[in-house]
Amino acid sequence: MGEDGESPKLNHSFLRDYVTEADVISTVEFNQTGDLLATGDKGGRVVIFQREAENVKPHISGEYNVYSTFQSHEPDFDYLKSLEIEEKINKIRWLPQQNAAHFLLSTNDKTIKLWKVSERDRRPEGYNLKDEEGRLKDISTVTSLQVPVLKPTDLMVEVRPRRVFANGHTYHINSISVNSDGETYLSADDLRINMWHLDITDRSFNIVDIKPANMEDLTEVITAAEFHPHHCHLFVYSSSKGTLRLCDMRASALCDKHAKIFEEPEDPGNRSFFSEIISSVSDVKFSHSGRYLLTRDYLTVKVWDLNMEKGPVETYQVHEYLRSKLCSLYENDCIFDKFECVWNSTDSVIMTGAYNSFFRMFDRETGRGVTLEAWRESSKPRAVLRTRRVYTGGRRRRGDVGVDSLDFTKKILHMAWHPAENIIAIAATNNLYIFQDRVNPENQ
């Protein structure tokens, strides 16, 4: 299994629980083929893993190994507002591959960058005026002319910034999404969504602006946005009030008026001080088919049908046992955690993270959910993941974890699912876990 480059032989038991803040993974994303996996961390670094070519035995898929590491963003300072700008990578999105090179977008709170990842495995040799190290030759030693030829060398991965899209956002960028047209992408902050052209860095179009004239009237912010996977004119954005708005860019230049709004009326029985916080949508994802939307709020994941606005078609409880603990979760700030959610390649399974290094998968056909754990102690390479359970009453089985013994510092916020196979990448603080389904490696 691919993990970050820690040697398992060293016993740093006293250091094990100490995690450098800068190493905490903040985003995970597969590219369109699934051969490359990119992670961003709080220190502004991006690590790209590449899948090895499949072994001779077809049912053992290749492992992911580090392909390239580079510093994407540096800490910055806004002198006008006297504000530090964090270098934490909020999102990474791959562009569809068009030639031998790979392109990805990475963003922190304020600036988006386009990176070109290319390989070099040969170099020209045999120059007339320079020797192999590049020093100028003594002309008197040159007796004949030669034509330089390309010779194979060790593989080198070069990552170069190709575009920097700066100064487009006043507030913190929370999402980026590449359009299916292959030319544009959107970036969303708390109050505005901008559309950029990949080749133009000094201009962007503002397509959504929900900033009120008087900031005291502010009631909701944008929490996530995504383009439709097939229709280049449609995008969706979620709000802190739990609503989803589908916008059509053909309707007008400024899409403040939504084409559709998806919201579920609040259940008055569950009203509490924290109802507004837990209804805030932390992530929204279109299904691969483009027909459904997946949203994550604090306690549930919901599947919405684009054709039905009045409510979700499916709701899954991720950790309902936390509903009675909302006050203490508010005190320790856990209630503000933003969990991501993902679809599998056939849109039949959805997955999201939870606490205590647990993550949950829900089978949409059966409606059943399973809890799995991403924890080094219990995950040896090639070991089978066993399901876990949180004890909430009834018969207590061995291995059940009580609600009060959940570790809220071990949270699984970021994850990705391979676009074609049953391979998942889970980020648990500073560790990356990659799990493969050996029983059903390919999706039916």
């Binding site: 700008i85 964090e86 708390d190 900031m215 909701e220």
Partner: protein, 282 residues
């Protein structure tokens, strides 16, 4: 009453979070601060509404007993009552007797629904000066419903008149003699209002300090809307109420036993630790 403590605690925690967010690296996070301010607002609403409903709860028991006693009483002319209740401050001058609390219930509901809390405080201040003694002897339900109605009108509150009218019927049966107790009654209620809002004001005062700082810095990024609403509502009468706090405890302890339990809790609440932590936070 636990709700009040809880709301209190949540309010101080929220204010602490807002303060801490300003020193966090990366600048103020608009989303998180918006959510915190929503929680702060909800907690404040609960705190305010719970105060009155808590008072009502305590008084309802006594009210039932009193109605049994008063069953024999006949109707009294109701007409004088409205005129007197329209000028409650002057009535307080006459005889600040604090009767039982069905009136409190009505007036408290009126106040609860009233958005014009300024008028409450100004009335309180006027009465505070005029009345210094509160003694409860008679229980009078005489003009309580009528007083309630007029007070409702006076405050322009959205009180459902059904509240007043429903109680009008039993009260007319059980009218007592004096018309002054209801007014003093309303005085005492306003004192409770003031005392409670005085304790509310302490976080307001602190948020006022911080919000003015924050508005200087990042007006765009900091949502001070809810906090400033708090300030506008309580700010002007805060200092006045503070000076009267010392006189209030004595007055309150002499109140009828129906409200005393509540009042003691209120006093305790002022000394609760959450407030000191709120002070430390700022």
């Amino acid at each position: 009453m636990e709700y009040k403590v809880e709301a209190h605690r949540i309010m101080s925690i929220s204010l602490g979070k807002i303060y801490n967010s300003r020193v966090q690296r990366g600048g103020i996070k608009l989303h998180k601060n918006l959510l915190v301010s929503l929680v702060l607002r909800s907690a404040r609403q609960v705190y305010l509404s719970d105060y009155y409903s808590g008072v009502c709860l305590n008084t309802q028991h006594v009210e039932a007993k009193e109605w049994e006693l008063m069953d024999s009483n006949q109707e009294k002319p109701l007409t004088p009552a409205p005129e007197e209740s329209l000028s409650p401050s002057t009535d307080c001058n006459q005889n600040p007797v604090v009767p039982e609390d069905p009136e409190v219930q009505h007036t408290s509901q009126a106040v609860e629904d009233s958005t014009d809390l300024h008028s409450v405080y100004s009335k309180h201040q006027a009465e505070e000066e005029s009345s210094s003694e509160d003694s409860t002897t008679d229980v009078s339900l005489t003009s309580s419903p009528v007083t309630c109605e007029s007070q409702c009108e006076a405050k322009g509150a959205e009180v459902s008149s059904s509240d007043c009218e429903a109680d009008a019927n039993p009260a007319t049966v059980t009218e007592g003699n004096s018309q002054q107790p209801p007014k003093a009654h309303s005085c005492s209620n306003r004192k409770r209002t003031a005392e409670k809002t005085a304790s509310n004001d302490s976080p307001v005062k602190r948020t006022k300090v911080t919000s003015s700082n924050s508005s200087e810095e990042e007006a765009e990024e900091m949502d001070t809307g809810n906090v400033s609403n708090l300030i506008t509502i309580f700010g002007s009468s805060f200092s006045g109420l503070l000076t009267k706090e010392s006189s209030e405890p004595e007055a309150e302890t002499e109140d009828s036993d129906s409200g005393s339990g509540q009042i003691c809790c209120d006093q305790m609440l002022k000394n609760l630790n959450p407030w000191s932590t709120a002070i430390v936070a700022f």
